[in-house]
């Protein structure tokens, strides 16, 4: 049935002693889509993923993966999903190929399939040359990719990735995104947690932002950004001396202009491309030389800052934090 969501969480709660790590999280992921679970350190992302993948029992609430309840039918869940945890869990003393064979063997996959799929996955993740080397000799990025390849060996319909690109360099990250997009095109449903807003922006159809165990915002990347405020036009003049004239010009069309002399920049709220075209025309007709003229939308970073009161990279203990 295509109408049942591939992943569902209803009011998931997890306590560790007195500590409430996850506090009533609900979401639903339609088949073949990507959900980005976004949140700062300690928000409860890993705990949520561990509950959804049967590694830890929810204190209360329910979750289903491919229709299987994580508490009632954990084996059904395990048959339907692959998991790549936050820390690489590949075996350092085995080669890349042996790692694939180990997990494939535990899935009970046929040797002929394993051979084909193994070769294919190694190639997909650019590990063919390193396939027969012991993982100990791999770089962090290679381990990460192998970890992902291993999670994919049974081609699970649902995939959970906990911070899959943490520790990857920008190029590897973009490459991994490509692979993930390919998987989703082929029908995989993906839940990924991340602290990188750009990553959620790039990959996720829907985003759920959690902080201190609670969902604080949800929607598409665009919806989140729109809710976070207007776009703005940013004008950078070539000569700082032109700033007053440029400001005067801008004030003819917009009410509010912010001047940043150091950056030779003027910023004005604008509700989209039309405003920007008009402003571009004004400067085109004047003799003021510009370095740059562009439309700046609020980034997910801004969204994050607005919602949580701290940036995504902020690693301060949330408990002691003073919310401004």
């Amino acid at each position: 049935m295509t109408s049942t969501p591939a992943i569902e969480a209803e009011n998931l709660v997890k306590h560790f002693g007195d500590k409430v790590a996850v506090d009533g999280v609900s979401f639903s992921v339609p088949q073949g889509t990507v959900l980005g679970l976004l949140g700062p350190n300690g928000a409860g992302k890993t705990t949520t993923v561990r509950m959804m993948t049967t590694l830890t029992r929810p204190t209360s609430g329910t979750a289903r993966v491919a229709g299987h309840d994580v508490v009632v039918d954990p084996k059904g869940v395990r048959r339907s999903m692959g998991l790549t945890g936050q820390a690489a869990t590949v075996d350092e003393l085995l080669t890349g190929r042996e790692n694939l064979r180990l997990i494939g063997g535990l899935y009970g996959l046929s040797p002929s399939y394993l051979k084909r799929a193994g070769d294919d996955l190694l190639e997909r993740f650019s590990l063919t040359d390193a396939a027969d080397r012991v993982v100990k000799t791999y770089s962090g990025g290679m381990r990460r990719r192998l970890d992902l390849a291993v999670s994919l060996v049974a081609i699970p319909p649902v995939l959970f990735l906990d911070e899959p690109t943490t520790g990857l360099d920008p190029r590897s990250r973009v490459e991994l995104w490509d692979v993930l997009r390919g998987l989703v095109r082929e029908g995989t449903t993906l839940l990924l947690t991340t602290q990188y807003l750009e990553e959620a922006d790039q990959l996720a159809d829907n985003i759920v932002v959690i902080d201190r165990g609670k969902v604080i915002e949800r929607g598409t990347a665009l919806e989140l950004k729109n809710r976070s405020g207007q776009a703005a036009v940013v004008v950078t003049v070539s000569n700082g001396g032109d700033l007053p004239r440029a400001e005067a010009l801008l004030r003819e069309v917009v009410d509010e202009v912010h001047v940043d002399e150091g950056a030779r920049q003027l910023t004005a709220p604008a509700d989209g491309l039309r405003a920007m075209t008009r402003i571009a025309g004004i400067f085109d007709d004047s003799d003021i030389e510009l370095d740059d003229l562009g439309l700046k939308r609020p980034s997910l970073d801004d969204v994050f800052l607005r919602l949580t009161g701290h940036r995504a990279e902020d690693t301060t203990e949330t408990d002691e934090e003073v919310v401004l």
Binding site: F16, L55, L83, E98, L106, G108, L109, S110, R116, R124
Partner: protein, 286 residues
């Protein structure tokens, strides 16, 4: 990466989703055993604890202390008598091997990875136990060969000798539970090492393993003779014909060493197994 460089219109055809088979606990455990044996192949120094180390012990004890420790009723004297003691210590250390392997797998997330697969959850522990017993068995074989070189012999029937090896193995089974308990409770391999050295060495020395308990001060002698390991060592020694039965002044378990070894192992297992499983559950499922 290929996916990025290929034009999107000629995507590689997706591999069809394979069928997942539940191959059962035994096959799954053996798959994990194979992986653990590859570890030993890649890092043969893992075997030092059942090769060089006990061989050194045999040689040191036999030739350094051997002259000053008198034992009765052993054809080749202390050297022959010593061997069952070293074997007992080697098999007691099976717990150590299980604990180190398990802690390291938990620590590196391997156990979590396994638990996310559709396999029997016991396979992780069964696989670890089987490979650790194999590991210890290598030690038993090496000890036997070393023994043969320095004068140890099996002097009674082959059946008795086989029973002795069987008792050693049985003891190994009981030690596995201790290993799982320790391995699940400790946070790092270093902690396991520390704890095991601090406890297992004294326990394996406070017995009839390396020196006869008869010669110890009364209180110590009582402890040594009631040490479960002493029953095992006494049983093995008697079955190999390396020592006569104990005198009537020895503690009760040593009077019937084979029976008490069986009782000790069953008793230890009955106590340790539930504790071990609970510790493992608690450590991995939260």
């Amino acid at each position: 990466m290929t996916a990025g460089t290929e034009p999107t219109t000629t995507q590689r055809p997706a591999i069809e989703r394979p069928e997942i088979h539940d191959t059962g606990l035994l096959r799954q455990s053996l798959t994990i055993v194979r992986r653990n044996l590859i570890h030993i192949k890649r890092m043969p120094e893992m075997l030092l604890d059942v090769t060089i180390q006990p061989v050194m012990f045999v040689l040191l004890f036999a030739f350094v202390f051997g002259g000053s420790i008198a034992v009765q009723g052993s054809a080749e004297g202390y050297r022959e008598w010593l061997l069952a003691g070293i074997m007992g210590q080697t098999i007691a250390f099976a717990s150590f091997i299980v604990a180190v392997g398990l802690t390291s797998d938990i620590d590196k997330g391997i156990v979590d990875r396994m638990r996310s697969l559709p396999i029997n959850p016991a396979a992780v522990l069964v696989g670890r136990s089987i490979s650790s017993l194999m590991h210890s068995s290598i030690g038993i074989v090496i000890m036997s060969l070393t023994g043969l070189l320095i004068g140890w012999r099996i002097r009674d029937g082959i059946l008795e000798a086989a029973l002795a090896y069987l008792l050693l193995l049985l003891w190994g089974f009981a030690m596995i539970w201790l290993g799982i308990l320790v391995g699940s409770s400790m946070r790092s391999v270093e902690a396991v090492n520390g704890l095991m050295f601090a406890t297992m060495f004294p326990i394996t020395f406070l017995a009839n393993t390396f020196a006869p308990a008869e010669n110890m001060p009364t209180a110590l002698r009582a402890v040594a003779e009631w040490n479960p390991l002493s029953s095992l060592v006494q049983a093995v020694r008697e079955l190999w014909g390396n020592t006569p039965p104990v005198g009537s002044d020895a503690a009760l378990p040593l009077q019937h060493p084979v029976l008490s070894t069986i009782i000790w192992t069953v008793g230890l297992t009955a106590i340790l197994a539930p504790l071990a499983l609970r510790a493992f559950q608690r450590r991995t499922a939260t």
